[in-house]
């Protein structure tokens, strides 16, 4: 309304001014200034809107302002000193354009300061770098972006409970255990990694369940209980499951390279060596599998072997180790247990018992302090056993699968020599320290071996372990038995073997000795009840050996990642009988789908073993039926092929017979269709045969 009035007012004035101008123009210089009562009816926006847009705003540059709280409150006389200190700290990040110290009327500072940087990036960097900067004991800086204050103001006073997520049915993720014939599944990666397949190991031929092109970008992995199938992509990790292998969850983690599941499949750990993006740096993330939420992240520069984070068997705790430090965290809070880490000078490695919340670690020698292996109970942190060891170069901890024993393989030296920064050991010998976990006070036995050790493996069920030792060409495999209250006894020594890897059957008793990644690929199947070598086989250039989870089959793989020709896999029975060979160009990997532990009690399992004869008869008849059906199918298929081909051949023959006159014409009427046809042209020829050579020595 106001504008309209102005406009009305303006019209008569305009007329007046025109008249004024025309009168004045004749005698003096025109007056360009507005008359006193002139009202401008064109707004600035209309005239120079484009320039006005770039006009400085009051809020300009707010993004580059930070608020630092927690600076000392001092009186005016020490103000300059404070300003120097503060600006020195904050100018490290970038150039400070402006700073403002609010003061009380008396001139002392109020304990906070506003700092303006040249740009917003510097301000953001200052927040990440200098938040929680400790100036001295009393003063810790709290650094925030000025713009964040608005965000903090907007937090509602009343807490609103989050809306419950609608329940999505994941389907039966354990369907594969309901397979009526108890066939196992396995995944294969072929075609240089571009094709991933899931197979059912059915008899007599495996059947393909799923095949996908480019399912993964690097590798695939089964979760430890077999529930999920994991594929790795540039942008993160995806979990697949259920009968149709649909995607169940995904975890976004750029550049992920390693993954690890917690033993009970509650959490998954992803690790990406490179960190990109903004915010708090993190390269290792722990996710909740069922909700897909990020539970905790770390930024690790660990020298440890993967996995950096190791889980207790029940997912209740996880631990990681830094230099001279062991940190144990609890779930589901993901906080440090008792809010502090253990100080363990010289800790080198640690591992969890597979059945109890017991953690074993070892510390290296330091001057006069011997190396030490210690077992502690979590969460009480009570030390339940420790053992001092001397002349230790390295230690390896091997838990037996059922947690009854822990074997620490100790590499010991008789001489040590320090070459500049390198430590050289010589006169190596090896000790196996066996901790009897089930006995009171955990007695420790030790076995000493003077020869070099190539491999060690516990029998997964039972109390035997096997080692490969010795030097070429006399490589031996020794089996030891562990008993309550006795030192481990040598059960058998197999001499002059050709192997470098040990693979126990998951159910114990049987073991495969394999010579992998060498030119021979020898496989020996040994029954450790009587240490009889059942069969010796070979799979040339085999690179991996995989037992199926039930211990019925062994698969040897020649992977494209290791060899270029004859890639593929062979399936053997546990006795070493070849069942099937499968060759495929650029075959990469085969992984069995794991099974969760049996739900049957030990007593029930024994019962089954006792009545095995009764059951096996059933299964054998089933197998026979299946293979006879298959051979019948094969015969039928062949018959059909043969009939088809024969009818085709008949047609060809008819045509060929029709053409006979023309053929005769081409060859001067000599019939050459059969060798015997052309009898007129036969010449007899005498050929000498060298039948026997006799040498008679004449005296």
């Amino acid at each position: 309304m106001a504008k309209k009035k102005d406009a009305e007012k303006a019209t008569p004035n305009d007329e007046n001014s025109k008249q004024d101008k025309s009168e004045m123009a004749e005698d003096e210089e025109p007056n360009f200034s507005d008359p006193e009562d002139y009202v401008d009816n064109i707004s600035d926006e209309e005239l120079l809107g484009d320039i006005l847009k770039t006009r400085p705003q009051e809020t300009d540059g707010v993004e580059s302002v930070i608020v630092v709280d927690g600076i000392p409150q001092i009186t005016a006389d020490r103000f300059d000193k404070l300003r120097n200190v503060v600006s020195k700290i904050f100018s490290k990040v970038g150039e400070i354009v402006n700073e403002c110290y609010p003061k009380t009327p008396e001139g002392s500072t109020k304990g906070y300061v506003f700092i303006e940087y040249a740009n917003a990036a510097h301000a953001a960097e200052a927040v990440t770098l200098l938040n929680n900067h400790k100036l001295d004991r009393q003063h810790t800086f709290t650094v925030n972006l000025f713009t964040d204050f608005k965000k903090y103001e907007d937090i509602p006073d009343e807490w609103e409970p989050p809306a419950p997520q609608p329940y999505t049915d994941m389907g039966n993720l354990h369907y594969f255990l309901l397979e009526p014939d108890s066939y196992d599944q396995f995944s294969t990666v072929c075609n240089r990694g571009s094709t991933v397949q899931i197979w059912l190991n059915s008899v007599p031929e495996p059947s393909k369940l799923v095949e996908k092109e480019r399912w993964t970008e690097t590798f695939v992995k089964w979760s430890p209980l077999g529930t999920y199938f994991t594929t790795i992509h540039g942008a993160g990790v995806a979990l697949w499951g259920g009968p149709d292998f649909a995607r169940k969850m995904r975890f976004a983690h750029q550049g992920v390279q390693f993954i690890d599941f917690s033993p009970s499949e509650k959490y998954v750990v992803t690790y990406s060596p490179t960190f990109e993006g903004q915010g708090e740096p993190k390269n290792l993330i722990i996710w909740d599998i069922r909700t897909g939420q990020e539970k905790r992240s770390f930024y690790l520069n660990s020298q440890m072997m993967w996995p950096f984070i190791r889980w207790s068997h029940d997912d209740k705790y996880f631990a990681r180790s830094d230099e001279d430090m062991l940190s144990v965290y609890e779930t589901p809070s993901f906080g440090l247990l008792n809010k502090k880490s253990f100080k363990i000078p010289g800790i080198r490695d640690f591992s969890w018992s597979p059945v109890d919340n017991i953690l074993a670690y070892w510390m290296a020698e330091d001057k006069d302090v011997p190396a030490r292996v210690t077992l502690i109970e979590i969460p009480s942190r009570n030390e339940i056993r420790s053992k001092n060891l001397f002349n230790v170069a390295d230690c390896r901890m091997h838990w037996q699968k059922s947690g009854d024993y822990l074997c620490v393989k100790v590499d010991r030296y008789s001489k040590i020599r320090k070459d500049k920064n390198e430590i050289k050991y010589s006169g190596m010998y090896f000790n196996f320290e066996i901790f009897h976990m089930q006995e009171k006070q955990i007695p420790v036995d030790s076995v000493e071996v003077k020869e070099s050790i190539h491999a060690f493996a516990w029998e997964p069920v039972g109390s035997k372990f096997a080692i490969i030792h010795g030097d070429q060409p006399n490589i031996c495999v020794s089996f030891y038995g562990v008993k309550t209250g006795q030192t481990p006894a040598l059960l058998k020594k197999l001499e002059k073997k050709c192997c470098n890897h040990l693979f126990w059957s998951p159910t114990g008793q049987y073991i495969v000795l394999a010579d992998l990644r060498s030119s021979s690929g020898v496989l020996e199947f040994v029954d450790t009840n009587d240490f009889n070598v059942m069969t010796q086989q070979e799979h040339f250039q085999a690179s991996d050996v995989e037992w199926d989870p039930t211990g019925r089959y062994v698969v040897t793989v020649c992977s494209f990642w290791k060899a270029k020709v004859d890639t593929g896999y062979s399936v053997w029975s546990f006795q070493g009988k070849i069942l099937r060979r499968f060759n495929s160009g650029a075959f990469c990997q085969l992984l069995w789908r794991p099974r969760p532990p049996s739900l049957l009690s030990v007593k029930e399992q024994k019962e089954i073993r006792k009545n095995l004869k009764k059951y096996s008869a059933q299964f054998e008849s089933k197998d026979r039926m299946r293979s006879s059906r298959a051979s019948k199918e094969l015969v039928e298929k062949r018959r059909k092929l043969f009939e088809e081909f024969n009818s085709y051949r008949e047609k060809c023959r008819e045509k060929w017979l029709e053409q006979k006159p023309r053929r005769l014409q081409l060859r001067n009427n000599v019939d050459t269709d059969e060798i015997e046809n052309d009898t007129k042209n036969v010449d007899e020829e005498v050929i000498e045969f060298f039948i026997k050579e006799e040498i008679t020595i004449i005296d």
Partner: protein
């Protein structure tokens, strides 16, 4: 039975062929002297001396009077079988890779390599009254081949067509009346190393670097059967009496030195013609097999290898007894 070992070449065998009667076996190698042997006892009958380079290919006419060779010395030569004398030769701009007599043996075909500025070409030559003047005569026909070069060749059944196998796996049929391509198929993904007819010529088998051998219909070039192995196939032959196929090949000569003989898989492998299933292997060569041929009576076969040997195997009685269930 113990195989006959024909030792007479200093270098890798390139091709072997029986004559129509099966009493003679011809062999050529990367040395420059093709040989002829008695197939029955493995005795060498003679050599054909004159070439100055690798002899890539050979053929013998149906009457066993004339012998044809093509070599890396840029020539194709025609020989008298009985006395080893050179009847005539044709010089070309580049290596002669393939050669073959027609059914009537009135004409012959040869193909040259794509080398330097020379293109791959198929020549059709009149050899009825060949003599020393052959060199100065013009061929009946010259067909320039654009694209991948010819690596193996066959005459069609009634001298009307030529079937060529190419470096990229293509198989082409040429009509000689028009001098034009009539039909071609692309069922292989690697170089066609060998083409051989069935006994009646109604089908032929191809051996390819793509690790397979395939059976085709001669008239339509329709793919009938595929035989798969893990190694490049250099040669494949069809038994004249049984429904059997023999394949030979192995790891390429370049890679052989890095592995043991066991890995190279230099076995001759027997497949059933119809079921495409492998049923037997014959070991022996310690280099890839380059050429295979069945004796015309089907009771023996010969293989020539990169190792320079030609082995003649006579089948045991159990070979004829073996039957597939169907």
């Amino acid at each position: 039975m113990k195989p006959l070992m024909l030792q007479g070449h200093e270098r890798a065998i390139t091709q072997i062929k029986y004559n129509r009667d099966g009493d003679l076996l011809f062999s050529s190698a990367k040395d420059n002297a093709p040989n002829v042997w008695f197939s029955l006892n493995g005795e060498r009958l003679g050599s054909y001396l004159g070439h100055q380079g690798v002899v890539w290919c050979l053929d013998v006419n149906w009457e066993t009077t004339r012998f044809l060779t093509g070599a890396g010395d840029n020539s194709m030569r025609l020989w008298d079988v009985s006395n080893g004398k050179e009847i005539g030769k044709v010089t070309t701009g580049s290596s002669v890779r393939t050669c073959a007599f027609s059914y009537s043996a009135n004409t012959a075909v040869m193909s040259t390599d794509k080398q330097m500025k020379f293109n791959c070409e198929i020549y059709i030559i009149d050899v009825r009254n060949a003599d020393a003047s052959l060199e100065h005569q013009d061929p009946i026909m010259r067909i320039p081949v654009d694209g991948p070069k010819v690596t193996s060749i066959l005459w069609g059944p009634l001298d009307e067509t030529v079937i060529s196998g190419h470096e990229n796996g293509k198989i082409t049929m040429w009509d000689l009346k028009m001098g034009k391509e009539v039909h071609s198929v692309m069922d292989h993904s690697g170089s066609i190393n060998d083409l051989q007819f069935s006994k009646d010529g109604t089908q032929f088998i191809s051996a390819s670097k793509d690790c397979t051998a395939k059976l085709f219909d001669t008239d339509t070039l329709e793919l009938l059967k595929t035989y798969k192995t893990e190694r490049p196939v250099n040669s494949a032959a069809l038994s004249p009496i049984m429904d059997h196929v023999v394949l030979g090949g192995g790891q390429e000569a370049m890679e052989v030195t890095t592995t043991s003989t066991r890995v190279g898989k230099f076995d001759a492998r027997f497949f059933h013609l119809v079921f495409e299933e492998e049923f037997g292997r014959v070991k022996g060569h310690f280099g890839p097999i380059n050429s295979l041929a069945f004796h015309p009576d089907g009771k023996s076969y010969a293989s020539g290898g990169e190792d320079g040997f030609t082995r003649v195997h006579t089948f045991d009685p159990s070979y004829y007894e073996y039957q597939f269930d169907f």
